[in-house]
């Protein structure tokens, strides 16, 4: 740790926490605007049906109803993250494609009236055959969900590096396995909500979102409004985890209702609607073939991965790719072929998730352990042997700069006495390790970079303005901390204006793990530019060279004679006198190959840098019931530099819950197109009593391009914790899992298969 730093690297109290512990922090559903109406949505009861007619007339006659809309009131525009994925009208006019899809909506003076009005909307459907299983969906003759996608294949990502078949033939051992996993629920505590207020040609919007700028752009397209007339405002977000990244049907619905009614509209989804109709998480079937040399070197990988994408494209090309990339960014694959298929089905729309890809990642890691054991190599050793090191290039041509993978494997191993525990496994006890690397940012066109404006006010206080977003992980506090470090002004003196499309500049958002590496970097550059101006005036006033000036505790001082000093506020006032106030801008644009494209050109520099991590899970299995418990979990994460170690630990601990403990508990359950566990009673989010003892280890690799060396804070755990648990269960049972979550019945089956006992 750089000891010259005053506040970066310290366990500081997050700037947003005071409002949150007093109940004063406002979330979307808390907003109350004058004359505000309540919006409610009528949803499709069918998984697949042609819309013949939507009649709103009787609903509009209900006293107290101020507006009613269907897709016929929209502009016939379909949204897609990419030009080639524009398939989502948000309010369909042709057909419905999943149970829970938005069909029509009303705005009324209160909830009762709105609900009554919904019952008066008449929709005539012609039901169509539906398909729910991606394998069935890909077959000839399956119901066609979108006309333009033959066999319902939404996205095919094809990567082929080296000579996979030849390498497989020459490998010492080859193994092929198929792993499945049910999609999890985001289960963010805040159900989705939107407030839309249309006035004087301007549309103001509040909703939990991970990127206001991309959201405003989507809505300006969908509503045929100029971008500057659509203003997405800052509001607290009650958790996102990848599920608030994209424009949502509710955004369009609330906007249309507000435009029609001429009054603000609040639309709050119920917990069930949040589960069925906001975003869901892909179910995955991953077939993994691996070839190894006798010494454990991976010589080839051959993948076929099928993602059940639900009814629309969403972030399809990205979702179809990410599990592969976070794995190839971690290990050396001289020959690799990846065929990822995202397939349409008549289920809810699947998006990105912080823990996305558990069948693929846990499958890879568990299979590697089994092969290594056959070769007499332990899991730590095989990971060290195949893990990437600084300066190496991934299979798809991303250069790795800072890389603490080795340190994370070694420290996590030491802390858990891994090798010894792994060797002395018993049928009821196991230990397992999972590794992964995470791109900090990825190609998002001109939205890949971030900019910040900073102004120093006449009292020496600071306002920083940035597009950066906080969904609860502490990004707001992080950039205030960075600004405080650079300017020598306490965090409490720094105001932040962020995530408001009218005043802030483009930023990748709380998406693609770019907040620290990209967003905080831009804040740092802006503050450094302001600092230069402060230092120039202070040096002149104190009669020393600029290089002799330090800034700390609101003072500019001479480094060698700390008693020689002046308040920064004096410097600022002097600047005002000179008609040249201290304002500055700063930008950061990561080193990314922008020729890179998810489908058409899947190679080139993916991100400016990568984080690395190793998780170790210790499990016990009840041999009678197959119930897995996780008494202890250790996670080591190379975040480059922890700007606030307490916040990084918090991210790691949350990831142990959401990815690690989830491995034994979480998964959506379906009966055809019906989601059976859309609420928090049936969907088991781990509780305090379900949590293991957690040991979090922060590894600092000091990234050369990161702000104070920082990369991202904790996502590796979110994408390797399930691997650690699955590997630990495999360590105990001696056999691979077939499907996640590892519910007691599945674990019993694994144990019985291994014993050769048939039911």
């Amino acid at each position: 740790m750089n000891t010259d730093l005053n506040i970066v690297g310290k366990r500081v109290v997050r700037s947003d926490s005071l409002a949150k512990v007093t109940g004063e922090a406002r979330y979307t559903a808390d907003l109350r605007l004058p004359n505000m109406l309540v919006g409610k949505v009528l949803r499709s009861p069918y998984p697949h049906a042609r819309i013949v007619r939507i009649d709103l007339t009787r609903a509009l006659k209900v006293p107290g109803v101020k507006a009613a809309v269907s897709g016929f009131d929209a502009y016939g525009i379909k949204w897609g993250v990419f030009r080639y994925t524009q398939d989502h009208a948000m309010l369909p006019t042709d057909k419905v494609r999943y149970i829970g899809e938005d069909v029509a909506a009303v705005a009324a003076i209160d909830e009762e009236t709105a609900l009554e009005a919904l019952s008066h909307i008449k929709v005539d459907y012609e039901t169509l055959p539906a398909v729910f299983d991606p394998i069935e969906s890909m077959k000839d003759g399956a119901p066609q969900i979108h006309d333009e996608h033959k066999n319902n294949i939404n996205i095919h990502v094809h990567i082929d590096v080296g000579e996979v078949d030849k390498a497989m033939r020459e490998a010492f051992i080859v193994r092929e396995d198929t792993f499945k996993a049910a999609g999890e629920a985001y289960a963010m505590m805040e159900p989705y909500a939107v407030v839309a207020s249309y006035k004087n040609g301007f549309l103001d919007l509040w909703m939990p979102n991970a990127g206001p700028h991309v959201r405003a752009k989507a809505l300006s397209n969908l509503l045929k409004m100029p971008l500057n007339k659509v203003r997405v405002r800052h509001i607290n977000s009650g958790g996102a985890f990848g599920g608030r990244s994209e424009v949502a049907p509710a955004d369009l619905v609330a906007s249309l209702l507000s435009i029609k009614a001429g009054r603000p509209v609040k639309l709050v989804l119920s917990r069930e609607e949040n589960a069925t109709s906001s975003r869901q998480i892909h179910d995955i079937i991953a077939t993994i073939k691996t070839g190894m040399k006798k010494d454990g070197t991976i010589v080839a990988k051959d993948y076929k991965v099928i993602y059940n994408g639900g009814a629309y494209s969403s972030t399809g090309p990205i979702a179809t790719s990410i599990p592969f990339y976070v794995y190839e960014e971690c290990y050396r694959f001289p020959n690799v072929r990846y065929n990822g298929y995202r397939v349409f089905t008549n289920k809810g729309i699947r998006g990105m998730y912080g823990c996305h890809g558990r069948a693929f990642l846990a499958g890879n890691e568990a299979q590697m352990d089994l092969m290594a054991r056959e070769l007499g190599i332990d899991p730590a050793e095989i990971r060290l042997k195949n893990g990437l090191t600084p300066g190496e290039v991934t299979a798809t041509k991303s250069k790795i700069t800072s890389c603490g993978l080795k340190e994370t494997i070694e420290t996590a191993s030491e802390r858990t006495d891994f090798k010894k525990q792994w060797a002395k496994r018993s049928r009821n006890k196991g230990i397992g390790m999972g590794c992964v690397a995470i791109m900090c940012g990825f190609p998002m066109g001109f939205r890949s970079g971030s900019s910040c404006y900073v102004k120093i006010n006449d009292d020496g206080q600071v306002t920083i303005v940035t597009g950066l977003v906080d969904n609860g992980q502490g990004n707001e506090s992080m950039v205030i901390q960075v600004a405080s470090e650079v300017l020598g002004i306490p965090m409490g003196d720094i105001n932040l204006v962020c995530a408001d499309t009218e005043v802030t500049n483009l930023d990748p958002g709380s998406y693609s793990q770019a907040a620290a590496f990209v967003g905080a970097n831009a804040v740092k550059v802006a503050c450094e530019n302001a600092r230069k101006r402060i230092v120039a005036i202070a040096a002149e006033k104190l009669g020393v060279a600029e290089t002799d000036i330090g800034l700390k505790d609101r003072m500019a001082y001479v480094v060698k004679e700390p008693d020689k000093k002046m308040p920064i506020s004096w410097v600022v006032r002097e600047a005002f006198f000179r008609g040249d106030p201290i304002v500055a801008t700063g930008s950061f644009f990561p080193n990314i190959d922008f020729e890179r494209e998810w489908v058409s050109r899947p190679w080139g520099q993916m991100a400016g840098t990568f984080s690395f991590g190793t998780s170790v899970a210790e499990v016990t299995i009840d041999p009678e019931t197959g119930k897995v418990t996780i008494p202890r979990f250790t996670a080591a994460h190379d975040c480059g530099c922890p700007i606030n170690p307490m916040a990084v630990e918090g991210q790691m601990e949350g990831s142990i819950l959401q990815a690690g403990v989830a491995t034994i508990t979480e998964g959506n359950l379906w009966d055809k197109g019906h989601l059976l566990n859309p609420d928090l009673l049936e969907y088991k989010v781990p509780l305090a009593c379900d949590m293991p003892e957690m040991d979090t280890i922060i590894v600092s690799s000091r990234d050369p391009a990161g702000p104070f060396g920082a990369k991202e804070g904790g996502l590796t755990v979110r994408m390797n914790a399930y691997s650690a648990v699955a590997c630990a269960v495999a360590n105990a049972t001696g056999a691979l899992f077939e499907e996640l979550p590892l519910t007691p019945d599945r674990v019993l089956k694994i144990m019985e298969t291994k014993k050769g006992v048939k039911k």
Binding site: T22, E24, R271, G654, A688
Partner: protein, 154 residues
């Protein structure tokens, strides 16, 4: 529609209200009294985000009808500060980094307050058992447990 007259003390203030017979306490607090610290997350008593104290007992306000609690003394998160000073639980949640997205925080603090009110120095086990009534999706609970332990010492 017929309404019901209730008198409730909320954060030491008396409120005489005409409420709908099916109105939940959560709705009354949020919509009538503009006390939005208690959150609706699951709406069915599973998550505890709407927890408030009713006569000192932590209840899920989404499952309580306001008409049922006529005459009750209710404390919400907004009533925790005293003379401009934070409650030790509020301080500890900040200092220990127990707050992330914040949506569960009010309910978590109110649940913990009920515990500390009857047991000043709970063991870690007691804390875990108590807060297992509430869901937090962000933190993994470790820092929340530490915060409650810390507040107990204050």
């Amino acid at each position: 529609m017929k309404t019901v007259k209730v008198t409730i003390q909320v954060n030491n203030e008396e409120n005489v209200l005409q409420v709908k017979p099916y109105e939940t306490l959560l709705e009354t607090l949020r919509e009538r009294l503009a006390l939005t610290g208690a959150k609706e997350s699951c709406g069915m008593g599973a998550c505890g985000a709407c927890t408030v104290l009713v006569n000192g007992i932590p209840l899920r306000s989404c499952l309580v009808l306001t008409a049922e609690v006529d005459g009750a003394d209710i404390t919400t998160i907004e009533g925790l500060m005293k003379d401009g000073k934070l409650h030790p639980l509020q301080e500890a949640f900040m200092e220990k980094g127990a707050v992330q997205c914040g949506f569960c925080t009010s309910g978590m603090i109110m649940t913990a307050k009920a515990l500390l009110d009857r047991n000043k120095r709970p063991t870690k086990k007691e804390i875990v058992r108590t807060i297992s009534s509430n869901i937090c999706r962000c933190t993994g609970y470790k820092k929340i447990i530490e915060a409650v332990e810390e507040a107990g010492k204050k």
